[in-house]
Amino acid sequence: MTTILPLGLLDKAISSRVWILMKDDREFEGSLRGFDDFFNMVLENVIELDNGKKSKLESILLNGSQICLIVPGGEIS
């Protein structure tokens, strides 16, 4: 029986695309470069979806405090 830890799952997603939903109506999609215990994340080639408006960002450090949901391998639909 193997246990899956939340941060272990996130560790497996490193260097792949992740889809992140925030507590408010914002969404992010990007290549996960790294993260820490607070779910702060370093993302590259990011698409930000804010109020239906898409914008592209090269490299960001996303504050983990407002993150609601993370989908490894997911894309903004």
Binding site: R33, F35, D36, N40, S59
Partner: protein, 87 residues
């Protein structure tokens, strides 16, 4: 290089002295030279411009942003590298 793991601590080290965009939860954006940054994401920016919905609102010489308001810090590493080469 581009597939190395890069933690938030590494990001902190790399962004010092670079021009960054800081976006807050209230959708305000601050573009300026990053002078200081800590683990709470408290940020000191210099030569800072304040934007709301892509419109320039104000300019400041130096500001301190409290970390709890920060949504993300965005940097363009490739662009700054080119500038480094020129110097």
């Amino acid at each position: 290089m581009s597939h190395e793991k890069r933690t938030s601590a590494d990001f902190f080290k790399q962004v010092f002295g670079r021009t960054v965009t800081v976006k807050l939860h209230n959708r305000t954006e601050y573009i300026g030279v990053l002078a200081a940054l800590d683990g709470n994401m408290n940020i000191v920016l210099e030569q800072c411009e304040e934007y709301l919905e892509s419109k320039l609102i104000n300019k400041y010489g130096q500001i301190l942003l409290r970390g709890n308001n920060v949504l993300y810090i965005s940097a363009k590493f490739n662009q700054t590298k080119q500038q480094d080469v020129e110097i």
